[in-house]
């Protein structure tokens, strides 16, 4: 931490304020009591935990006290040696207070760091176990299918398709992980005005095989405004929502729509599958939460959606639709234009 001009401003202001107060109170108090006022001032500066400014402040306090109040007044001359003791006490108290304040501050900081490290460790280990489980599943399928094919090349297309699909799942997973890391490392979003229709289009294209023959209906007015967004991350939101629908509502059809609101774009990705259980609806966006013990997935997809939408200043929620199925709705602020 560096010393700032602010710290020194404080160390200059404190003796000035104390002198003012001492002048006001001098008809009522004895000289030793006035020294206490300066003591309070230099302690206040010392509590900020900066040695230099604290020392400066207490020295200035002593000088002011000497100059303005110690007889003969308005000189730096001291008549009685007892005041030298007062000056020494003032300086010592200020130094001790600074020392204590610095130590307490350092301890608090160390405790905070330790807590962050522990939290990161916890997150990292749960991420690691979720990821390694999630990587092993498709890898097992790939290795198994490939060795079956090596033994019996006539075993056929099902195994080959299995290999391709599982490898694609791995690719999506890695993409998710890379982008999560980017998001969590606090890297700035690459926001530019984009057409949501175009983003939905590239997401649908990338999800082609995942969607299979599933019906996808889109309802996007032609005159939707461009909105500031990070195209890669926003595409990832749609990919994750589509993958989520494909997993939890395997036979369902998909509906993607967007509407222009006052100061935001409102987007909805809905399916007509089994919908959410009540206990899931508030938790689906939690990391590593897998709704209803559904197969596959590691509960990262929707957590990423939430993180991305919130990084854009929007909100996302999941709710069951009136008929059946679930709708994920989110907003994207249009930003200052």
């Amino acid at each position: 931490m560096s010393l700032t001009a602010r710290d020194y401003a404080f160390s200059l202001a404190a003796p000035a304020v104390c002198t003012g107060a001492a002048f006001l109170l001098s008809p009522l108090l004895t000289l030793t009591d006035l020294a206490m006022i300066y003591l309070v001032g230099s302690m206040a500066v010392a509590l900020r935990g900066r040695r230099g400014p604290a020392l400066l402040s207490s020295l200035l306090g002593v000088l002011c006290f000497d100059y303005f109040f110690v007889p003969p007044r308005f000189t730096l001359h001291v008549d009685h040696p007892q005041y030298v003791v007062t000056f020494a006490v003032m300086c010592t108290v200020a130094l001790l207070t600074t020392h204590l304040a610095v130590r307490v501050g350092a301890q608090a900081e160390a405790a905070k760091r330790a807590e962050i490290v522990a939290e990161t460790e916890k997150l990292r280990s749960s991420l690691l176990s979720a990821v390694s489980h999630e990587l092993r599943t498709p890898l097992t399928a790939i290795i198994g299918s490939a060795s079956a094919l090596l033994r019996n090349p006539a075993a056929g297309g099902g195994l080959l398709e299995n290999i391709r699909d599982e490898a694609e799942r791995l690719a999506r997973l890695i993409h998710n992980l890379v982008e999560t890391t980017r998001l969590e490392s606090g890297a700035a979003l690459k926001k530019e005005p984009h057409s949501i229709e175009e983003i939905i289009g590239t997401a649908l294209e990338r999800c082609g095989k995942l969607l299979g023959g599933r019906k996808v209906e889109t309802d996007l007015p032609e005159n939707l405004p461009l909105v500031p967004l990070d195209p890669v991350l926003m595409e990832l939101v749609f990919i994750n929502l589509i993958e989520n629908a494909a997993r939890h509502a395997p036979a369902a059809s998909l509906e993607i729509s967007a509407r222009e609101r006052m100061d935001a774009l409102e987007v909805s990705v809905a399916d007509d599958g089994p919908g959410l259980r009540p206990e899931d609806s508030s938790r689906v966006f939690e990391k590593f939460y897998r709704a209803g013990g559904a197969p596959g997935g590691m509960g990262l997809g929707l957590a990423i959606c939430k993180a991305v939408i919130e990084a854009h200043g929007g909100e996302i929620r999941a709710e069951n639709r009136a008929g059946n199925g679930v709708a994920f709705r989110f907003t994207l602020p249009r930003g200052a234009r």
């Binding site: 993409h175 005005p193 057409s195 289009g201 590239t202 649908l204 993607i256």
Partner: protein
């Protein structure tokens, strides 16, 4: 038989590319480093080059620059997702197209086919008419049809389509499109996105799932390979 120089230091990639390309009638030359790529490029004069940008010795973009000093053979750069700036730099330095790892054989073959056709056509006259599904663009007459109905386009919308049709099947970088559309520097990426949006609503039956005018995220746009 056209020859393909495959530059990649990963054995696993070479192992699957060779049989896939040979099956489709290509002769495959393999290079596992940048230096080897430059040597083989000079010695064997391949018809098309597949260049991975991550090489053990020389930076892939440097290899590309040195190849371009004396060869005009089409170069397709290969790089991973998330390395969009590499792809843009590659296109800037004379690459013809790019492939994103992981890619499918179909994508690879389509890129190679388009690359070879453009190299061949560069020697001859440009194809005056582009046809893909229900879309037809007559570059000579400056007219566009969708399912036999003529489409009215603004001059800017037509310029966009024509620029993409002249490079049919190939990606056209955003920067290049901006130069062609607004030579005096009037437009920008935002204006281009709006223009693409409007054009899609004229020439696509389902603009959100375009069949002709595709987006190459973060890089540019591509008009699909024309029907043969």
């Amino acid at each position: 038989m056209p020859s393909v120089l495959v530059v990649d230091d990963e054995r696993a990639i070479q192992r699957f590319l060779r049989p896939a390309l040979e099956e489709h009638g290509f002769r495959v030359i393999e290079a596992s480093s940048g230096r080897m790529a430059l040597e083989l490029c000079a010695a064997k004069k391949p018809d098309i080059i597949l260049l991975d940008l991550t090489l053990p010795d020389i930076d892939g973009l440097d290899v590309l620059r040195r190849i371009r000093e004396w060869s005009s053979a089409p170069v397709i750069v290969v790089s991973a997702r998330g390395e969009e700036s590499d792809k843009i730099a590659g296109l800037d330095q004379g690459a013809d197209d790019y492939l994103t790892k992981p890619f499918s054989i179909e994508e690879l073959l389509a890129r190679v086919r388009v690359g070879l056709r453009h190299a061949e056509r560069a020697a001859k006259d440009p194809e005056p008419v582009y046809v893909h599904g229900d879309l037809k663009i007559d570059l000579g007459a400056r007219r566009v049809w969708l399912s036999k109905t003529e489409v009215r386009l603004s001059p800017l919308q037509y310029t966009l389509l024509a620029a993409l049709a002249r490079n049919a099947g190939r990606v056209v970088a955003q920067k290049q499109l901006l130069r062609e559309l607004w030579p005096d520097g009037g437009g920008g990426p935002e204006a281009l996105r709006i223009l693409v949006h409007q054009t899609r609503h004229r020439i696509e039956k389902e603009p959100v799932r375009p069949r002709h005018l595709k987006t190459e995220p973060a890089v540019g746009y591509r008009l699909e390979e024309p029907d043969v």
